[in-house]
Amino acid sequence: MASIFQGVGAATALSSSTSFDTKKFQLSSRRSLSERKPSFVVVRSSAAKKDSGSSRTGGRADHLVTNAVATKSENPAASTASKPGHELLLFEALREGLEEEMERDARVCVMGEDVGHYGGSYKVTKGLAEKYGDLRVLDTPIAENSFTGMGIGAAMTGLRPIIEGMNMGFLLLAFNQISNNCGMLHYTSGGQFKIPVVIRGPGGVGRQLGAEHSQRLESYFQSIPGIQMVACSTPYNAKGLMKAAIRSDNPVILFEHVLLYNLKERIPDEEYVLSLEEAEMVRPGEHVTILTYSRMRYHVMQAAKTLVNKGYDPEVIDIRSLKPFDLYTIGNSIKKTHRVLIVEECMRTGGIGASLTAAITENFHDYLDAPIVCLSSQDVPTPYAGTLEEWTVVQPPQIVAAVEQLCR
């Protein structure tokens, strides 16, 4: 991490919002505040659309899609109505996946606060209660620990529930059930009872939602044995991961992001299911491996545009599977580029980036030409003020600067 700061004077684009040693922080703060670029919208940018579009080809006949490979610089004009498939928003993709699975298997059910009659606070379950009844799409009272427990009990006796947390942060109340029962009961019962639940909900830093509604729960859950964690980032992988999670016999936690629900993309008409343990190659490259997931993918792709203009060739991988890591894809990339940058939204301490850094160091140390750089949020509760909030999240200029530093 020290290599980033060799040229503090030069790296003015490095704002002080990312988490560094406090000494460096103080040094760079004054200067970079004034030179900080204005904020930008990530979610609806055409760049996002193009990049997510480049991650799959149209007209897929296969049912199981592994490791969608990106083609470089796909012309956005080509992705017009002449392409097969249908366009939808990310929350609609989640709903489509959910509905297909509910249609396919009568044991699939949904429970959570306001999922039934209201259609879900982010409309992921809209229309499902009308179609399947308000018992199969169940509105629960406000007791996360208990309705998670209910889902676990239902799963042990044959159903396949999807438990929705209105916001991931609320699932902290369900930690006891998730850790002590969901993750454990298959093991402690000697394999007699399985718990095929999907726990999902929106998390991450939104637009001024306040500290309690901006939690990154993947940090807290990553240690629990017995569960799997995946994070979706595009409508395509949202639908595929939702379906895969429902079909899996393990408990799976699906992390969605509050700001990504309105992303639009064209997805195939045919049925497809993605693998829960695979990462997604967003943009192949040669110079540096950038590992990211969820919303940060878009910040990275924004930075990638700038980097390409500056002559760099970053390889961007959306790791998607947070537990376990897809070390195969990641490893192959590292063996090619020898440099790693991790861009995440978690706090610096104990986040996904921290674990990923450890895993890479353990497994691929010999292939690295430079220490792994991890850009994360600071170890602070997310402030409400918009300007402050933006500074807690890694921004594209920082990513650009980090790559420049790394590729010296």
Partner: protein
């Protein structure tokens, strides 16, 4: 929160509602007078939603809108009933005959007003009575409600109670001798264990706390199977992964015990929900103690079960003690039975040391749960005549006299024995024969279980997921390499 809260979806939902009979919780438009307003039902969770045309509703032009009928879609199969515990009956269509200002429809139903500023009482004037069939001498009290039981059933219940008692005594001793690491008895609660199990069906899923080994015994778990779990050997169904007494059996529909207190209560509600969805002719049963009733899970589970109308029997073993905490330090309500009442769950208090009372209550509760699709709460008053577990010495916080008294004639085994002996179904010879038989079986089972080897190292890593992931495979091979390197330090009775 996100803007999606206030989307136009509510209009969409209104159009799609097919049921005729629903009336939703709505914000009452309090600016208009109660008597004259003709507002149709509103959807909750919207802000200043304009009144919609009343075409879809059973429109009495009056106050129906804010009565708390459960919202339900007519297209639901296995859906919930339109009435909740708080709903007023159908004749609400008529306005009440009293002067209107004495009642107002708040969300949740009509309420009568009173000019008296009084609070409900803190002290309990009269406790909920306790249902009992047999007295201390094993005689039937004047009784018309209990279920008739046959000689066969009575003798089986009694012999299983004795087996449980002997099993508890001997396994407890085995722990004291250092042969097993931990044990927990059900001494004093044999009637609760056996009689409740006897009133259930094998298809009823059991979600135990930890003092319900008798339920498993009744269903057919053998003494050898118990011993295998206690010794954690390779025949243990849990593959040696849990502490002793954390039994579990899929074939007997008994969910593996977890050490966490009362987490099984919401599990039972979820399983009941699953049975309700699949319209099964069965219910779920969950057991917990007086201490467990203080947890958050207990309250939310009762609440949910009532709202969902789930067929679950909540069985509370109020044995007076939560390790060293007496009930007076646990809650100040009249036990647990009134809590069921508070949540809208039909509840009963029974004498937990009376086999026939427990049997009848559970028998009736099961019928209610399945036929009426309702949760039921049973509070069984009893006494924990043993220590909390082998890690506890209860004489430290309660008197020996008290313990001895409850082990005496109040003892459920003794009471029921008197009953069946009076009927001529049992004798002293049968007693001593049965007891020595069980003791012999137990010592054989213990010896056999002790000799069996432990689960292999591979079982440390299996079943964490359905298939072993790469990191676990790596960790296993690392462990095995270590074992090879240091073979002398590795225990001989753990196979590789």
């Amino acid at each position: 929160m996100a803007s999606s809260y206030f989307s136009k979806s509510k209009a969409l939902i209104m159009q799609n509602l097919k049921s005729r009979k629903f009336l939703t919780l709505g914000f009452v438009n309090r600016t208009s007078s109660v008597t004259t307003s003709q507002f149709p039902p509103h959807l909750i969770k919207t802000i200043s939603f304009p009144p919609l045309p009343a075409r879809n509703y059973e429109s009495s032009s009056r106050i129906n809108s804010s009565i708390a009928f459960a919202r339900c879609f007519a297209s639901v199969s296995g859906g919930r009933g339109a009435h909740t515990a708080t709903s007023v009956s159908d004749d609400v269509d008529q306005f009440c005959t009293e002067s209107p200002s004495q009642e107002v429809d708040f969300p949740g139903g009509k309420v009568k007003f009173t000019p008296k500023l009084t609070f409900t009482s803190k002290t309990i004037e009269e406790r909920v009575p306790c249902y009992r069939v047999l007295n201390e001498n094993g005689d039937l009290i004047i009784d018309s409600d209990s279920v008739e039981i046959s000689k066969e059933l009575a003798v089986k219940m009694y012999t299983d109670m004795v087996t449980l008692q002997v099993m508890d005594t001997i396994f407890y001793e085995a722990q004291r001798q250092g042969r097993i690491s931990f044990y927990l008895t059900a001494i004093g609660e044999e009637a609760i264990n056996i009689a409740s199990a006897a009133a259930l069906n094998i298809n009823d899923f059991v979600f135990p706390q930890y003092r319900e080994a008798g339920v498993l015994l009744w269903r057919g778990f053998t003494l050898q199977e118990f011993a295998n779990q206690l010794f954690g050997n390779k025949y243990d169904y849990g593959k040696g992964r849990q502490m002793p007494i954390h039994y579990g059996s899929k074939k007997l529909n008994y969910i593996t015990v977890a050490s966490t207190v009362a987490t099984q209560v919401p599990h039972a509600v979820g399983a009941a929900y699953s049975m309700k969805m699949e319209k099964k002719d069965s219910c779920t049963v969950t057991y917990f103690g007086d201490g467990g009733s203080s947890t958050g899970d207990f309250h939310a589970a009762l609440n949910f079960a009532a709202v969902m109308e789930a067929p679950v029997i909540f069985f509370c073993r109020n044995n007076g003690w939560a390790i060293s905490t007496p009930v007076r330090d646990q809650f100040r309500s009249d036990g647990i039975v009134v809590k069921g009442n508070a949540y809208g769950v039909p509840s009963i208090r029974v004498d937990g040391n009376d086999v026939l009372a427990v049997y009848s209550a559970v028998h009736q509760a099961r019928k209610m749960a399945i036929q009426e699709q309702t949760p039921v709460l049973i509070e069984a008053l009893t006494y924990r005549a043993g220590h909390h577990s082998t890690s506890d010495d209860s004489t430290k916080y309660r008197s020996l006299d008290e313990i001895e008294w409850w082990r005496g004639d109040q003892n459920p085994v003794k009471r029921f024995r008197k009953f069946i002996e009076n009927k001529g179904w049992w004798s002293e010879e049968a007693e001593s024969e049965h007891r020595s038989n069980i003791r012999k079986q137990l010592s054989q089972a213990i010896q056999a279980a002790e000799r069996v080897e432990k689960p292999s190292i591979g079982d440390l890593f299996s079943d964490v997921y359905d298939a072993s992931p790469k990191n676990l495979r790596e960790q296993e091979s690392f462990l095995r390499k270590n074992i090879e390197k240091h073979a002398r330090d590795y225990p001989t009775d753990v196979p590789l």
